[in-house]
Symmetry: C2
Subunit: 382 residues, 2 copies
Amino acid sequence: MLKTRTAYFDNAATTFPKPEEVYRFMDIFYRECGVNVGRGQHKLAARASALVSETRELLLDLNHCPEKRVVFTPSATEALNIILRGIGIKDGWNVYVSPFEHNAVTRVLHHIGQTVRINLRTLEVHDLPSIQEQFAAHRPNLVVMSHASNVCGAVVPVHAISAQARPYGAINVIDMAQTMGLIDTELSSSEIDYAVFAGHKTLYGPLGVGGFICSASANPTPLLYGGTGIDSANLDLPMSLPERYEVGSLNIQAIAGLNAALKWIGAIGIHTICKREAEHRNRLLSIFSQFSNVRVVEPTHPLSEHIGVVSCVIKGYAPDEIGKILCACGIAVRTGLHCSPDTHRQLGTFPSGTIRFAPSYFTTSDDFADLEAALDHIEQNS
Amino acid sequence: MLKTRTAYFDNAATTFPKPEEVYRFMDIFYRECGVNVGRGQHKLAARASALVSETRELLLDLNHCPEKRVVFTPSATEALNIILRGIGIKDGWNVYVSPFEHNAVTRVLHHIGQTVRINLRTLEVHDLPSIQEQFAAHRPNLVVMSHASNVCGAVVPVHAISAQARPYGAINVIDMAQTMGLIDTELSSSEIDYAVFAGHKTLYGPLGVGGFICSASANPTPLLYGGTGIDSANLDLPMSLPERYEVGSLNIQAIAGLNAALKWIGAIGIHTICKREAEHRNRLLSIFSQFSNVRVVEPTHPLSEHIGVVSCVIKGYAPDEIGKILCACGIAVRTGLHCSPDTHRQLGTFPSGTIRFAPSYFTTSDDFADLEAALDHIEQNS
């Protein structure tokens, strides 16, 4: 049953396809105005700069925080590096993380831990009262939370936890790589200090642009040094936000794609997108329930909210074997640890991992039918 | 004389337009195969991975060094940060730089200098015997050279200088942001440890991809931490090159564009491109020589080779004023310090800077005619 089409269930890695508007606008804008932003006085540079400003505003509007600032980086990983290494984690800090952190957080904290003694603690995210106790016993200095797990889709109650951490003066960082543009989130509250995004995932934009939303007074130590197009005679980086953190040329093509994506989300409506994702998750769960050899993997203490991502294991097969079989059946998934070994430790699926299915707004009935047929094929050949 | 078209002379900031092949292939590839590289087993991921491998090979072929390795980063600035901060500059090191360094080098060295005592020295690049004396007097530990100035276009004899530095065990880093794909360069020699490139400049690729070429045994301390798609259970980054330095999702769209650009360069021929750039430089110099109020800015001790970039000042006007007038005339240039304040100090044009004209392969006779008309207009209104 070799297929020429691919049923793409790897949207947690990167959403694919993108809305037609994204491809089209990115191509047109880059052809018409593919110049360097903020580094020339000419009309094309001005047009490119206006696009960047508008895109920042669209991101702030989406998250209901017009008073905040957007810093663009090439990726969410880089944004997390800038934040976690720039906020000045000190010896003896109590750093809390969700059970669902990606290596973009855990490897960074591990690196910091080589020179600074960090007390790393995992939050009992399903149990807010116990978090209150955890915080009272060991006052939080920093709380880092994946808004949603990239492995099992569980959504962490980031606002409730941030609010509990705030009275201790903790810095709250949320990683919205899997949620921005999908879960309607209020970032104007003072509790969330940094919200990280990946343009190419739930925002339906292209690779090459991510970043973070923070207050105008945020001032982490920069991680990268270089030209900023302003204040060039200064050997130090300018103090102004976002320029201080946006060294090198901004990727105007990627930002154009993100701009179109944000307008597409606005036109469809974030709640419509979220509703469809919930339907897709239910569709996946319904398909899996038909196969006795398939076990959906969930946290021991499940959370009430989920994004579309579902992980499972199939009896008698290692996840990587299933990945190969599904590949031959034209089903694109990602198997293994998904760059989140700690999540798999929590889920009891370390070290072999799971098979992850991540639908998107564009997943079709044909995709689900192909998946069902493939699982049928696996069951019959078991 | 307001113009609707723009004569673009800002190619040192980013080449514009790109070859038609670049726009087209980037769009098609991202529509057909816009997935995450090295993080899935499916066919699309395999196709994307093959494209990335081919692009690395094309870069090595272009620079005659098939035995070396390519590390992709989102920008040349990031590549320079990784290298300069990863090689372990130590207290008391003699660090030599060319007179033409960009803030992507000078700000990074200044930052390192906050915690490590660096003896920073400027190379007399026009005088190789004097460099020999400099090196003998203060043994070089690190030599960082812009292959060509982004302000005046002077080409630094990087091979000759690297060869002189090598016997002292110095690390040689060359910044080819303004030259790779334009000047045929031999990187297989053991003298050059790191050669940095920007995909979106003389390589005629898109924004979003840069990187460096190094030996397979290069091992700077990583600057960024995060997911690599391999060895996920390891809290440390994998030791393998290039994965160790390529955290987060590779920008497959940008790499597709660079792939098409490298094939375009191969089809046209780097020597043909270089010849046309030389003609364009001569055309600029010939135009400027017609105007007595225009003074071309060159180093006190000119170098024999140049890329197309030419800087000038116009009597009676600050460069920024000229930038605005040219902008109104439909001429895109960049004025001021070009993120290279030290170059302007050398050229005697600090702090007001110059007006920079940077043609590309695609600069047309119409562009030059527009420029000539604009300079006429300025002269008549002086």
